[in-house]
């Protein structure tokens, strides 16, 4: 101000040292991060849970609309029945299970898969009389693209050592509670009782256990690497699912 005596006034921009933008005065620059969650996972269940961070949350809706199947391993225990189908629930009934064999279990599972196959076709609103629909059904590519009750596309027994048994279930539009109820119903069909001791999701769409981050890997670098590694795959899969093709897009990777 004192120096502005001369005739020709010039304007110069200078910056004055100021403390208004000092980190100790403003606080941290980034305070919150928006995270969205994909398909729900129970508190008692474990496995793959897909999260979307920041702008990736919009991809979560796309993934939901792609209606891909999920893989679960379900561990069951014969001989008990509880009120919430879990091992630590209130005991309702106890029964013997000596009569249960592997063949009986496999037969029950095949029955379940067959009935759900019918439901699959019905809920996907396809006219099975057309040649294309028939081809797709033969290849196993049919699935409903809108809301439907729980549908099991595949179920088989991996391990049977009474009283324990291990099932692998491929399903869609499910909740973990329905899976536990399924174990209970399998027990009833086998003329005994069963509870579910573990539900674990091994695959959610195109995210498998290998992509999953452990608790020790919950830091910024691992998360960034994981996002960058799966980004191309996500883009490819979502594009495939958006491509029109008789309403049923390409099958999810096995």
């Amino acid at each position: 101000m004192e120096g502005s005596e001369e005739k020709a006034l010039t304007l110069t921009a200078t910056s004055v040292p100021s403390l208004t933008n000092h980190p100790l005065v403003c606080g941290p620059a980034f305070t919150s991060l928006k995270v969205g969650v994909g398909h729900r996972l129970d508190a008692q269940a474990s496995g793959v849970l897909v999260l979307g961070v920041g702008h990736g949350r919009s991809l979560l809706t796309d993934m939901y609309n792609a209606h891909l199947t999920k893989d679960y391993t379900v561990r069951g225990l014969l001989g008990k029945a509880t009120d919430d189908f879990c091992e630590d629930g209130r005991l309702v009934e106890k029964s013997t299970y000596d009569h249960v064999t592997r063949e009986k279990l496999d037969r029950i599972l095949a029955l379940i898969q067959g009935s759900h196959q019918k439901a699959l076709v019905m809920y996907s609103n396809l006219d099975l009389q057309t040649q294309e629909a028939y081809d797709m059904a033969v290849r196993g590519l049919i699935r409903p693209m809108n809301k439907s009750p729980m549908l099991i596309t595949g179920i088989r027994c991996l391990h049977f050592a009474p009283p324990e048994f291990l099932l692998e279930v491929q399903c869609m539009h499910e909740t973990q509670k329905q899976l536990r109820k399924l174990v209970h119903e399998i027990g009833l069909e086998l003329k005994t009782t069963a509870v579910c001791s573990q539900v674990r999701r091994t695959r959610d769409g195109f995210f498998t256990l290998d992509d999953a981050l452990l608790r020790t890997q919950w830091d910024i670098h691992s998360i960034q690497n994981a996002i960058q590694a799966t980004a191309p795959r996500v883009a490819v899969e979502l594009e495939k699912s958006l491509r029109p093709g008789l309403g049923t897009p390409a099958a999810p990777p096995p």
Binding site: M1, E2, G3, S4, L9, L11, T12, A13, T14, S15, V16, P17, S18, L19, T20, H22, L24, V25, C26, G27, P28, S46, R200, L209, A212, L214, R215, T216
Partner: protein, 417 residues
Amino acid sequence: MALSAQQIPRWFNSVKLSSFITATQLGKQFQRRGKTLSHGFSAQPQVSSDNCFLPWGFKTYRTSSLWNSSQSTNSSRQEISSAQSALLPSVNEQTQKTQKIPSFDSELSLEALDDLPPLSPLQPVSEEEAIQIIADPPLPPDTFTLRDYVDHSETLQKLVLLGVDLSKIEKHPDAANLLLRLDFEKDIKEILVFLKDLGIEDNQLGTYLTKNYAIFSEDLENLKTRVAYLQSKNFSKAHIAQMVRNAPFLLSFSVERLDNRLGFFQKELELSVKKTRDLIVRLPRLLTGSLEPVKENMKVYRLELGFKHNEIQHMITQVPKMLTANKRKLTEIFDYVHNVMSIPHHLIVRFPQVFNTRLFKIKERHLFLTYLGRAQYDPTKLNYISLDKLVSVPDEIFCEEIAKASVQDFEKFLKTL
């Protein structure tokens, strides 16, 4: 006419004032500012540079409002700021000038009324005059952040340079107001010197003050009495410094309260005086925190978990944090360790660190060892794995030495849980 109007701000500029944010003046000026605002006084550019003439800036604004013409362009502000860079670093201690302000205010207003004919704000002004008008945004009368005031308050600037985190203090509005009104030379400096005498280093002062900003409202004599009391209880000077650093609120507690707390721990734990002292030095939080959780935890250990009194004493001297741990977590950990891992009481007493770890860590490692068949916790048998090695070592050492497996195997196993 216009020129005389310009001369006055320049004259004001040459008056250099020191820390003008004193308690009374600040209150007065802000109130007046509020009043002028409420009278529909729109925020026109005013004659005030930032750290020089704030107190009377408002006053002149009110009386000489009319000639305060139009455009506060950004260009004018920048030009002014370049000129004022010379002013900012030179903040002199001129307290006599602050006393001069009231008289000079009245002189000024009279002069202003005589010399300056009322100028309409809509009167056109030449470019040069427009550039020379100093236009700074006014200080907000109330705000939720200290950012607006930090450039104008020497106290705040010195605190930031010490390392105090103002963004945390501004979350407590009464604390922020207190800091604004305090004078660095008079109040704050003495307390800082006292803290340094106590043994807190320069670089630790910042974190200390961020936590315990209320120490500035304490009386220096009280602080000295409390330190003397602690010394009378045979805490060495280094210990006292360490305690104050780890529990910043320690010095804000009165002597009676500290006495009560120390007495409580003496009675409750029934330890010798020296051991109680060591315990307090290790975890001074015990003195500043609430006593209810400690009482509850003692009951939990005795009744629910079934430890004998001497066992509890031994565990507490090794891991003092057990006294303030969460009751639910303690019971969960104990339930898992005692019932699932089948470890008897006397082994748990020998390794109280298990109570300090997270439950999921214990579960993961135990399940991995059972899967490998190496879960042997009995000291009399072969391949014995002690509890402290189970919980306290980091993952890599655990995998290599104790589980004799690779870290990848451990991770793969974790993914199957």
